[in-house]
């Protein structure tokens, strides 16, 4: 009891604990760091109040474009007044609950699947069913739903569709290509190498242009392939090549002993890959893979150049209305927030799966 009392009396110096201690440790830890802290503080003091004044205090939220011109702050009305066109684009106005429902379903399924312990056969069928329902909701034509052709798909549903299917289809394709590149069979190996290097050698914009401008000219008379599908294919082919290289990195990082151990147990190639190598290799490369998938998500905004109206392009379209021209800062801040939410959830998601 006595020793406790005496030890309590010896307290650390007051500038090492509490707020002061934290500040000293994290912000004023040496001359150079103190200077940086002061400079950053000075910049923040100049910028933050002005931003708050502009974005919140002087801002208008639900006015017409004309009143916006008179307000001195941000014109969030450009977002609120156009929100439905911004999110759903050309999808028929009275049917917009359908893409909304489809998006919620997708998000719900993704949220449920976040724990890989829940991954089993049932979930697989659940996904098939969910995809079917989403397809029906978007396309219509069944169960008394009015058909909506894909040229009207736009806004956030289009962005999510292009990225979700782009990611879902390019991942297995990328793994196959990585295995092909490691293969002993010369034709498969050279085909994979040629494919990967060719795709990585051109920008995505080129592929999108090819798919939307040149490809239709090669098709036989009278056959057209949906523009959304063409863009989707280009995105899948592009992303797969990058994933292939990342996965190859994982395969090469595997210890040779793993292959030999598999061989000594009498496993054939497919068993070796499926049971031993890929589960370990793919886990190693989750962080870089997610990096690629996130950039693939952001790359879908390039479909602007082939006049598909993803969420970025619907925003641009709104800004081309005379009433709203000039409020691009506000509109793009909104889009940045949407993209940030999606990308941040993707990286959080991957960290969960990694566990």
């Amino acid at each position: 009891m006595n020793t406790m009392e005496s030890s309590r009396e010896i307290r650390p110096p007051s500038n090492n604990v509490g707020v002061v201690g934290w500040l000293k440790h994290n912000l004023f830890n040496g001359v150079f760091n103190s200077i940086i802290t002061l400079v950053v503080l000075a910049v923040l003091i100049r910028v933050v109040p002005q931003f708050i004044q502009w974005a919140f205090i002087d801002a208008v939220w639900f006015t017409s474009g004309k009143e916006c011109h008179e307000a001195s702050g941000a014109c969030w009305s450009v977002v609120t007044k156009n929100i439905r066109f911004n999110i759903f684009g050309y999808y028929p106005y009275d049917q917009q609950w359908r893409p909304l429902l489809a998006m919620l379903l997708l998000v719900g399924m993704l949220a449920y699947s976040r724990d890989w312990k829940r991954w089993n056969k049932k979930l697989g069928y659940g996904w098939l069913l969910a995809l079917f329902v989403m397809g029906v909701l978007m396309k219509g034509g069944l169960f008394g739903l009015e058909p909506v052709e894909t040229t009207k798909w736009s806004g956030l549903p289009l962005t999510l569709l292009l990225s979700f299917f782009g990611i879902a289809a390019s991942y297995p394709l990328g793994v196959l290509l990585a295995l092909g590149r490691q293969s002993d069979m010369i034709i498969i190996r050279s085909l994979s190498v040629v494919y990967i290097e060719m795709i990585r050698g051109v920008p995505l914009i080129t592929l999108l242009f090819m798919s939307s401008v040149m490809f239709p000219l090669f098709l036989p008379e009278g056959v057209t392939i949906d523009k959304v599908l063409r863009a989707q294919a280009a995105i899948i082919l592009f992303t797969a090549a990058y994933i292939a290289e990342v996965v190859r990195g994982g395969l090469q990082a595997m210890d040779k002993g793993q292959y030999e151990a598999a061989e000594s147990m009498g496993l054939n190639y497919y068993q070796t890959m499926r049971l031993i190598i890929l589960p370990q290799a793919l886990k190693i490369v989750i962080p870089p893979t997610v990096g690629i998938l996130i950039s693939a998500f952001k790359d879908t905004s390039l479909v602007v150049i082939i006049a598909l109206y993803d969420i970025l392009n619907t925003t641009k379209s709104i800004l081309n209305t005379p009433e709203w021209t000039g409020f691009s800062t506000e509109a793009y801040i909104f889009i940045a927030i949407v993209y940030y939410l999606c990308c941040f959830s993707m990286s959080q998601y991957s960290r969960r799966i990694e566990k």
Binding site: R84, Y93, L128, S212, I225, I306, A307, P322, G326
Partner: protein, 342 residues
């Protein structure tokens, strides 16, 4: 089981994405009628010409032009058009590859486009030209005083080319600020990053209307290029070209004859033989085009005459606030002139 699952996925994707495929043996009209709808290439981002409103309903001069063609073919507008928004780069390929039946996307008619690109332009639906907008504070009243100016211009367009030609041929120095999107280009101009902004006169008017203080800016009188904007179809189907051409002309002819969407029903009983022939009271025109005799009546009734369409989309009471100018009837000093409907 797995194979079944994957084939289900493939089948699913195919049904969701498969496009309507049809065979088009040069007979565009027949193909459109069989299909039940017309595919139209439009701008998508050009207010007043081709752009969807907040509810996704298409509006504009080009859009109404396409509506006139659809009405001529089908007699109604019940879901008869599939709008395909196109960029400047993809618009002509879309027509060549039969992705669309007609292009109404503020395309300037030029010799090479009409020949080498395999397009046929029909009656012009808007005569545009390139102009300059300056702040009044610059104190300039003519484009010839713009030597040494910094000019805001969209990159890679004929606009940039025209401006370069103009400054070079007048022996004037100039600097450019190029920004890809019109809306941002205008913002740069209002923020004072350049002295002059150049674009098609129709767009300048709209951009001026969106300025923080429209009164501070003026459009210079010089028009430095000719931009006849016309709908286009593919080479090789003359009947279809005639239909598109005379659908546009019908709107102009109606204005010449004083027929509007409001009085068209009374005009049916007009004694004027020109009007009788035009509205199909005395038959002949429709049959010659392969259309219903009432095609012109339907266009005027459901879309309106050219004057109505102009005023509704780009006229003085719209945000663009454009005067008729070159687009007035020939009788009012403009260029809009229809051959006789007989």
């Amino acid at each position: 089981m797995k194979r079944l699952a994957s084939s289900v996925v493939v089948a699913l994707l195919l049904t969701v994405f498969s496009a309507p495929a049809w065979s088009d043996n040069g007979d565009t009209l027949k193909a459109i009628k069989e299909r039940g709808y017309m595919m139209v290439g439009v701008n998508g981002d050009l207010f007043g010409f081709g752009k969807a409103d907040q509810k996704g309903v298409w509006q504009g001069l080009d859009v109404d032009t396409a509506r006139a063609v659809a009405v001529a073919v089908f007699g109604d507008l019940n879901d008869r058009i599939r709008w395909v928004p196109l960029t400047a780069k993809t618009r002509f390929t879309a027509l060549q590859s039969k992705e669309i039946d007609v292009l109404t996307r503020n395309a300037t008619q030029t010799l090479t486009r009409d020949t080498a690109l395999g397009l046929n332009f029909v009656q012009v639906n808007y005569y545009d030209g390139q102009g300059f907008m300056v702040p009044k504070a610059l104190g300039v009243s003519s484009a010839s005083e713009l030597a040494g100016a910094t000019v805001c211009v969209l990159p890679g367009t004929t606009t940039e080319q025209n401006a370069a030609d103009y400054f070079r041929s007048n022996d004037m120095e100039w600097n450019t600020v190029t920004i890809e999107s019109t809306a941002e280009l205008a913002q740069a101009f209002y923020a004072g990053r350049c002295d002059v902004m150049t674009s098609d006169a129709s767009q300048l008017a709209g951009l001026r209307a969106s300025a923080p203080n429209p009164g501070d800016y003026m459009i210079l009188p010089e028009i430095i290029s000719k931009e006849p904007l016309a709908p286009a179809v593919r080479h090789g189907d003359d009947q279809w070209m005639d239909i598109v051409n005379f659908s546009v002309l019908a709107m102009i002819n109606a204005e010449e004859l004083g027929i509007t969407s409001e009085n068209v029903d009374e005009m049916l009983s007009s004694k004027n033989p020109k009007i009788q022939r035009f509205l199909g009271v005395s038959p002949g025109n429709g049959e010659a085009l392969g259309l219903d005799e009432k095609f012109a009546y339907n266009i005027i009734k459901q879309v309106g005459n050219y004057g109505e369409v102009f005023e509704r989309n780009v006229g003085v009471n719209t945000p663009l606030g454009l005067e008729r100018g070159l687009n007035a009837l020939w009788t009012n000093g403009g260029l809009m002139y229809s051959p006789p409907f007989k």
